[in-house]
């Protein structure tokens, strides 16, 4: 392919890995477990999708398989983050003393 597709693909690669770095930085810097879930799953999902898009620009013959991996990530990554948040809430770990409102416990009473 032409050189323009290579440069666009490389820029998408750098943008995607920048989002991966921002997600990991949020994972280190955030104070609470729910904030860590927020920072660690959304930003890395976007970063991985941008990386797959960049590889699809660099190797256009692989587009179908990269699209399959992308659809798989879109389906599984929010599901695993939601199940992790529910598990953290039910096991009662990681609440900050500064967090005052817990709507899920108000809805379900004294869960476990």
């Amino acid at each position: 392919m032409g050189s323009l597709y290579d440069v666009i693909g490389g820029l998408f690669l750098v943008a995607g890995t920048s989002f991966l770095l921002l997600g990991s930085l949020g994972l280190v810097r955030m104070p609470d477990i729910y904030n860590r879930i927020q920072a660690g799953t959304k930003a890395t999902t976007l970063g991985t999708l941008l990386t797959l898009l960049g590889v699809a620009f660099l190797q256009p013959a692989w587009s179908l398989k990269l699209l399959l991996i992308g659809i798989f990530l879109i389906f599984t990554n929010p599901l695993s983050s939601q199940i992790l948040a529910r598990a953290a809430h039910r096991s009662g770990q990681g609440r900050l003393p500064a967090s005052q409102v817990d709507r899920l416990a108000e809805d379900f009473g004294d869960e476990s």
């Binding site: 920048s18 280190v28 660690g40 190797q59 990554n77």
Partner: protein
Amino acid sequence: MVEFLIGLAATLAGIAFLLALWRFIKGPTPADRVIAFDVLTVISISGIVGIALVAGRAIYLDVALVYGLLSFLGVIVIARYLERRL
């Protein structure tokens, strides 16, 4: 130009992997470690796709797909274990 961009992307992904690994080692609760494990697997999928790009072999994309499936199942199982419902 393209080689420089691919090297920069690999460096950024490596730094992200090390930061997530630091949270995986230090995390105060087991749920923190599971979240860090999830982030590590997502970064590893990007890394495997990048290795497939550099090596020029399309068979590594299948490795990335199966790796994502197994890591998803592992995260689900550990989360169910933390809920004490396994």
